[in-house]
Each structure stands twice: as C-alpha cells, then as structure tokens.
C-alpha cells in the first residue's frame, strides 16, 4: 500500500493537533509537545511542520479570533483532515500489529 511518508516529528505534531480537536495553533501545540515529550521544541519547527502537513493535506487551517496578548493578531487554527486521520490510523495499526507480534515486550524494556 502506497501512502505518504510521515516523519516522526510530523506524526507527533499531527497527533497533537488531533488531540486538541480544533483548538490547535502554534503556541499551544509547542507547549503541549514540550509537556508531553519533554523535548525542547521551538516555535519555528512547529510552524514548519504544520506547513508541511498542510502541504501534504493532512491538516487544514483557518484564521481564528484575535486576542490581546497576541497584540490583536489572529491565530491560525489547525484541524486534522480525514486523510490525516486515516494516515494516523494506519500508522497506529502498523505499530499495533508489530507490538502484538512482540512475544515479550517487558524483556525488551529491561534490556535497554
């Protein structure tokens, strides 16, 4: 099956967008990823990833309401498209099937 390649970072961003359910935009995505993964992620990386995802058709965006702390500027709110959702699904299925075939998952962890 042919599908679009999705990098690991892009996958995390896409997942975050999916989790946030319509409330996703640059800053909150950054904070969420930092909180969840502990990585030091920077805003420009997130923006770049979101742009790539949009180019690939996995997210769509629209301009939201302005807020005061943004100096009256609007935010770009992202939502996952059906295509993005299916991609995530497929990735998840692939991983689950591998995990299921793994006989002793705990052993693997201790050996690390």
């Amino acid at each position: 099956m042919k599908r679009t390649y999705l990098g690991e970072f892009e996958e995390i961003v896409l997942l975050t967008v999916a989790v946030m359910e319509g409330g996703a935009y640059g800053v909150v995505i950054t904070h969420e990823i930092v909180a969840q993964t502990g990585r030091s992620v920077r805003l420009n990386q997130i923006h770049a990833a979101l742009q790539r995802l949009e180019d690939k058709g996995m997210v769509k965006s629209e301009m939201g309401e302005p807020t005061a702390e943004r100096g009256g500027r609007r935010k770009r709110l992202f939502t996952v498209t059906a295509y993005g959702r299916r991609t995530l699904q497929e990735i998840h299925e692939v991983r689950v099937s591998f995990w299921n075939r793994l006989l002793n998952p705990l052993k693997l962890t201790t050996s690390l």
Binding site: R42, L43, E69
Partner: protein, 877 residues
C-alpha cells in the same frame, strides 16, 4: 504588559512573508508573554530573539503569488487615457473651452518666447559679439548731459597710439545710408557705409568670394550677396569696376553673405573703405591731419584685446577726447566710453549720462504678459475642473470604494490634464504656424518656426510638463482627497468653501485683462495725441527726394521748369535736411543780450527761396525769404522755440553773429521772420530751437508740393519721367513726408498693436472660462431655478440672480486693476515729454467694457437657464 524586542519584531516584519506574518507574529507575541511569566523578561527577550531568527528561513521568507492580476503601468496608463478621452468627448463644450483656451494661451506664450529669443539673440551672428563695442560719448550742455554715438575723427589714431594694447581691432565708419552703385548702364540705390579695413574681420563676415582683407586698398568695395546679384546677376563680380554716387570708381574685392535680419548691420549691403571717404572729403582730411576734435561726425567700432574686459577699457578711455580738446570746449566735459554690442539692441538709452536700459523693458513687459496670458488659460482649466468636481466626486468615490488608491486617482486626473495640454500644444503649434507671418509683420521680425532646433523642443517639453502639472495639480490633488463615504452618502458639499479659490482665480483673470485693456487704450491715446500734435507745416502731397549724386548739380532750374510745365507740382524747393529730421546742429552764435553762460545750440537748416511756400510755413511775425531782397542770403527765419531760447522780446531785426568777433569769415544774419515750430525730430520731445538760412549750395534734398487736383500716382509717374530725362544715371527714389512722419510712431504703434492683440486674447480666454463657469452654475441650479419659477420669479429676477455673482467679481477686479494700471502707465508715460493724460474716464470705460463683456458672456447661459420650462427641469426626479 511588556513588549517584545522592537527591533526583532521589525526584522521579522521585513523578512517574513506577508501572508504568514500575522499568525507567526501573533504566536511569537503570545509565546513571549507566556515566557515573561515563566522565566522573566530578560530571558524571554533572549528567547524571542532566538525564535525570530528561527523564522528567518526560506520556508517563511518565500512570498506567494497574489491571486489577483497585477496590472503594469502601461495597462493603467492606457486605461487612464481611455477614460480621459471618453471624458473629453462626453463634455464637448468644456473640452473645447479648455483646449481652445489653453491653445491660445500657449500660442501667445510661445510666440512671445520666440520673440524674446529673437531679441536676446540680436547681433549674435557676429562671432566676436561679446568683444565688440561702439565708442560713445557723454557731453554736458546747459547743465544737461547728452549721450551720442558720433565721435570726432582723430579719436581712432588717439586710441591706437595711446591705448593700443587694449584693442585687437579698431574701425572708423561714417553713417549707413543709401548710395548709387553703377555698373555700366545699371544704377541701383543700396544702403551701405564707408568703414575701416578691419571691420569685416571684426564683424566676422562670411565671405563667399575674396577675403575679409578686401578693404586694404583705397579704391575697393565689398558687396553683399544680394547687391552682387542685383548688379551682376550670375556673373562673377570679382575685380569688376563699379561707381559709387557717380563720384568714385572702385574694384569689387569680395562678396559676403547677407547679414541676417536680427543684426544691427542688416542693411549694410556694401562696404567701401573709410580711406576712400576721407580722400573725397577735404574737411575730414584737415581734421585728421590737424587733429581737430571739435566735430563729432563719425562712428568708431572696436574689438577688445583678448585679455581685456569691457568695463576696464571703458574706464581707461574716459578722457581720450577731453585731454585733446581746446580749452573752451573743456566745459562740455566729454567722457568717452564703450557701449558693448551685447547692449546695442536692448540697453541703448541714457538719461543725464546714466545708463537706464532701453528696449529690454519691452522685452520684460511682453515676457510678463505672455506668462499672464498662459496663467489665465491655466486658471480656466483649473476652474472648470474644480467646478465639475461635484460631478466627478461621485466617480472618485466609486473608484476609491472599488479599491483605487489615492495615487491612482491622482494619476488619472494628471493623465487627463496632460492629454488636454498635449492637444492644446498641437493646437498652439497650428495657431503659431497660421499667425507667424502676421506676427512677423506687426513685430517687424523675421522669425521662422524652429522645427529643427533641439532647445525649442526641450523648452516645449518643459512647457508641457509645467503647464500640465500647474493646471492639473489643483483638480488632481483636490478631487483625490475626497472621502468616498461622504461623497457616496451624498452629504458631501462643495459649495461655499470650494468656490472661494475659484472666485479668486476669476478675479485674477479679470484683473489682468482689465489692466491690459487700460494699457492698450492709453498706448493708443498716446499715439493719437502725438499724431494730432501740430507739426507746423502741411505734409499732404509733399515729396522729398534726396540728391545723392553729383548729377543733381545745376539741374534745379530745368527740373523746376519741366515739372511746372507738366502741371504736376505747385512748388519746388531745396533743403539741407529732410522735413522729418535735422541733419545739422551748430553752436557759436551770439546776439545782443545773450546770457554769457548759455551754451547756444541750434538746429541749422539751409533752404531755398520757395521752401516756406512749398511746405506751408505758418508765420507768426515777419516775412518769408524773398527774391525781391538781394540781402536775404544774410537773413534768418527762426522758429518760436528759438525766440524763447534766445530770450528775445522783439525778434525781428535782431542781428545774429555766427563765429568769433574778429574772425573775417564771421557772418552777421538778420532775423526777418518767426514761424511756428516745425516738428522734425522726435514727436514726443519739444521742438528744438532752429535757424533757417537761405543758401542753395548747402542743400541735400528736393521738396516737391504735388498739385492736389491730380492723382498722386499719375503725378509721380510724370515726376519720374522728368527726373529720368535730366538725371539718367540716378535711380528715382522718393519719400512722402507724411509717411516718413508716420514712421516715427512705428515702435509705439507696434507696441500698441501687440498689447492690443494680447489684451483681446486675454479677455477672450477669461470670457471662455467665465462662459464655462456660468454654464456650470446654471446647470447646477436647474432645480432651484425651476422651483423659483414655479413660485413666481420673473426671468429678469433669475437673470439677475445668476449674473450677480460674476458681476461682483468683475467689479472687484476693476478696483484692483485700476491702481496697478495707473502706476505702470504713469511710469511709461513719464518717458515722453509730450504725453497724453491718464484721465479717469479711461478706467471707467475699461471697467464698463469689461462688465459689458462679462454680462454678455454670462447672460447667454443665465437667460437660457431662466427661460427653461420648469416642468422639464423639475420632472427629472
């Protein structure tokens, strides 16, 4: 709330693609605010910088293509021009007024420009025109300093020997005059001069044959191309022998190109050597060999040495004459100076020894008039555009609402004004081509349309730019400033405030026009006033013939008999001066009771017995010369001015002595008659004191009084045949005294005609503008007039209502124009001793005239509006 680093923000704005900027910047600011709370402002700022730099990557910098078309300048220009053309075609009357008025204004300004250029380039044909000068002198008599071109003959030698290193060339000359040139049987009268051998080099004559050194031998002559053609046709004139005035035979040693019309020497059609003139005149030889400085009879031209400047040399030669004159002539305080060729044409007037300019005043005046006429045309354009602004305001509003930038609206109006100006420019060129020959005639010029001259086209381009900007700026900047919301909502009101500048401009227009009208009236009155001045003789049918060849000697009696027998003349006489000039002035007279301090100076005219009868002298006292008295060769007829000048109570019988008391050649004359002043020189000056002597040996002119019962052309044909019979080798040239007198007004009449023409044009242009404005107001007030009519207003009421505004403006203009005109015309008239008065009625006439024309212009529109059926005007809503 703390703000993120401003410079970083600006950097981001500069680099980040505009369509991403909002979200990126918003995110950055939100992040910054959050970081300030988390880690403090200082570190947040650092982070902010780091984040901004993170965004400076191709992905974020790259611009996306606009989804809308981005028209190029050419596209917009085409659109502007198309709209402009449609506007012009739609409003035909406005366009005609605009283009027509502007074309006339530009044509006037360009004609005046060409004229000024021609005046300024006078004499520049000569390569060394900035190094050439004429030597002139100031002399003081009876406390008044006079300035003259004539200098004594020994001055040339004096300047060569004592001041030689100041000059490169010097050249003496007599006076340009008509002479008879004969080659075989061919006799022609040509104007020429006797001049020094260096003159052709100084004037940088363009030699077609021979060289500029052609005058080095005594019996030689240089001919202009036209003279050579007249005498020799196509044959080679070089080396041929011709005769001047039947006196001297000379050999042609060169032919030069005719001098152009705008040079001082344009009528110099031959040059004979100065040495030849000296050889023929014993008294000049004497004054040269004996260094006699008393007689100022010649001209001297100089070219400065290369390292010298005009003023220094002029100051150096100041006393060149004074150092040499006899002690009793020192009182005249002769001062020599140089008059540079640059100034000959435009700065040739002196008053009491002070250089006061001259013709340059007319050049300046016409320059100003040209500018004003152009200004009037521009004002029309501005006025009509702003008047129409209410209509165009909606258009501007819609354009702006649809998305036009102000810049584009400005461009739109400028392209419209430039289109009008370019049309007007083409129209102006057509007008100039049509009127140039007429203009040349009136202005006495030979101006050609400068098709091939780059400076002219550059100037025209500048002209178009300036006019386009000037006349387009007001509507462009004013209309484009409208706010679309107000305009489209309909609350926009251009009344009151907007009409004020328009009114001011109308006042300016009419002030200029009325000033020009008053000026023209005054100039014509001055000319008329002077023409009506009593001349002291009867000039009708009076013919003057100059005796320029020795053939005339001894022919007086046969001419007299034959002409009288032919029945064409009533009287014949001879005189030393023409009737319209005085060729000789003399001093050295004394009489009983003469004030010893008086520097006596009289116009001296020699006549024959019948002169008084021929010209119609009016005697106040005494009698005319008569053949009955053999003593009349020692009698004197004087004019009234002379009686006054001499301070005589009983002039008749007074003895006048001419010469020193103990000199045996001194003569004593007795005054036998006093005549009314005969106006011979400038008609604007008082008549000079004059003595008339009776001596046929001194005469130069024959005067004929034609028989008034026969037609002039018939008589002149008969006169010519008699002259041809007795004077076969003298071309028959004659002048009518009244025509010659009329020529004295040539420059004033030219000035009057030009000023009159410009005044008419100024009024025309102003009225065109007024017509446009009136039609606009009438149109604008159509509804109001309809309502008024329904409520019972009469046509007269409405006519008054619509005309009142304009009439008030013109009256204001009258009050501004009158003092201005009074001031300048008073100054102009002060230059004339004999002048008309500035009466108050002239101003009234000009004002009433302007008002009348205004009413005429406005009434057409206001009556049309007032007569309109109110049903029609009110129905359209």
């Amino acid at each position: 709330m703390t703000q993120p680093p401003r410079f970083a923000d600006r950097l981001l704005k500069l680099f980040c693609s505009p369509h991403r900027l909002e979200e990126v910047q918003g995110d950055l600011h939100e992040e910054f605010a959050w970081q300030v709370r988390r880690v403090g402002e200082r570190r947040a700022r650092w982070r902010y910088w780091r984040d901004v730099l993170g965004f400076l990557k191709p992905r974020f910098v790259k611009r996306v293509a606009e989804p809308y078309s981005n028209p190029s300048n050419i596209d917009m220009l085409r659109n502007y021009l198309k709209i402009a053309l449609r506007n012009l075609v739609r409003h035909k009357v406005y366009s005609a007024i605009n283009i027509g008025g502007l074309a006339v204004g530009m044509a006037v300004a360009m004609l005046i420009g060409l004229w000024i250029y021609d005046e300024l380039s006078y004499n520049t044909y000569h390569q060394n025109y900035d190094r050439l000068a004429r030597v002139m002198q100031h002399q003081t008599t009876n406390g008044h300093t006079g300035t003259q071109q004539s200098i004594p003959a020994p001055l040339e030698k004096e300047l060569r020997t004592k001041y030689g290193n100041n000059f490169k060339h010097l050249g003496m000359a007599t006076w340009q005059d008509g002479h008879i040139l004969s080659y075989g049987d061919k006799h022609v009268t040509r104007s020429g001069n006797y001049m020094g051998p260096e003159i052709p080099e100084m004037l940088s004559l363009h030699m077609l044959r021979g060289s500029r050194r052609g005058l080095n031998e005594t019996n030689t002559i240089l001919l202009s191309a036209s003279t050579a053609r007249t005498l020799f046709g196509a044959a080679n004139p070089m080396g041929k022998l011709i005769n001047i005035d039947g006196k001297s035979d000379v050999r042609v040693t060169g032919v030069y190109d005719d001098l152009p019309f705008n040079t001082e020497f344009r009528e110099l059609t031959f040059i004979a050597p100065w040495a030849l003139f000296v050889a023929m005149q014993p008294w000049v030889q004497r004054s040269l060999s004996e260094s006699r400085w008393g007689n100022n009879s010649f001209q001297l031209f100089v070219q400065l040495a290369d390292n010298m400047d005009m003023e220094t040399v002029s100051a150096r030669i100041k006393n060149a004459k004074l150092n040499n004159v006899s002690p009793d002539e020192k009182k005249f305080k002769s001062e020599m100076f140089l008059h540079p060729m640059n100034d000959w044409r435009l700065r040739g007037n002196w008053e009491e020894g002070v250089h006061i300019g001259g013709y340059i005043q007319y050049v300046r005046l016409f320059g100003i008039i040209g500018l004003f006429v152009l200004l009037l045309a521009c004002i029309n354009f501005m006025n009509l555009s702003t008047a129409r602004s209410e209509k165009r305001a909606k258009e501007v509003g819609i354009r702006k609402a649809v998305g036009s930038l102000r810049r584009q609206v400005v461009n739109q109006f400028f392209s419209e004004s430039f289109l009008v100006v370019i049309f007007a420019f083409v129209g102006a060129i057509v007008l100039i081509l049509g009127t140039l020959s007429w203009f040349n005639e009136v202005a006495d010029k030979h101006i050609l349309f400068p098709w091939a001259k780059a400076p002219f086209w550059l100037a025209s381009l500048g002209f178009i730019l300036v006019t386009g900007l000037l006349s387009g700026s007001y509507p462009a900047l004013y209309l484009s400033s409208f706010q679309p919301v107000k305009v489209l909502k309909g609350t926009f009101n251009v009344g009151g405030w907007a009409a004020a500048p328009r009114k001011v401009l109308v006042v300016v227009q009419f002030t200029v026009s009325i000033t020009l009208i008053i000026g023209t009236i005054i100039v014509y009155r001055q000319i008329q006033h002077t023409k009506n001045r009593p001349v002291g003789y009867n000039s009708t049918g009076l013919v003057m013939i100059q005796m320029i060849s020795p053939e005339f000697n001894g022919k007086y009696d046969v001419l007299n008999t034959d002409l009288k027998n032919a029945g064409v003349i009533q009287e014949i006489a001879e005189s030393s001066s023409p009737l319209t000039d005085v060729w000789s002035n003399n001093g050295g007279f004394s009489w009983q009771g003469k004030d010893p301090s008086l520097d006596d100076d009289f116009a001296t005219i020699w006549v024959t017995h019948d002169f008084g009868k021929t010209v119609g002298w009016q005697f106040k006292e005494g009698r005319d010369f008569s053949r009955k008295f053999s003593t009349d060769s020692l009698s004197l007829v004087v004019n009234e001015a002379a009686v006054k000048f001499m301070g005589l109570q009983n002039p008749l019988g007074t003895i006048v002595r001419w010469g020193a008391k103990d000199d045996p050649t001194t003569k004593h004359f007795t005054i036998i008659g006093v005549i009314e002043d005969v106006l011979a020189t400038s008609p604007y000056e008082p008549v000079k004191q004059a003595f008339y002597f009776m001596d046929e040996k001194e005469t130069n002119w024959i005067m004929l009084k034609l028989d008034p019962r026969r037609s002039v052309s018939e008589s002149m044909a008969a006169v010519e045949s008699v002259f041809k019979k007795h004077l076969p080798s003298t071309p028959f040239n004659y002048k009518f005294a009244d025509q010659e007198f009329g020529k004295k007004f040539a420059s004033e009449e030219r000035f009057g005609k030009l000023a009159g023409g410009f005044a008419v044009l100024a009024i025309l242009i102003s009225c065109l503008g007024l017509f446009g404005l009136a039609s606009f107001t009438a149109e604008q007030r159509t509804k109001e007039i309809g309502v008024r009519k329904v409520l019972g207003a009469s046509v007269l009421n409405l006519w008054g209502l619509l005309s009142k505004d304009f009439v008030v403006l013109v009256i204001i203009s009258c009050f501004i124009a009158s003092p201005i005109a009074y001031y300048y015309l008073n100054r102009w008239l002060e230059e004339y001793t004999y002048r008309t008065e500035l009466s108050w009625w002239i101003f009234v006439v000009a004002g009433v005239g302007a008002l009348f024309i205004t009413l005429l212009t406005v009434s057409y529109q206001s009556l049309r509006a007032a007569l309109m059926n109110p049903v029609k005007s009110l129905r359209s809503e």
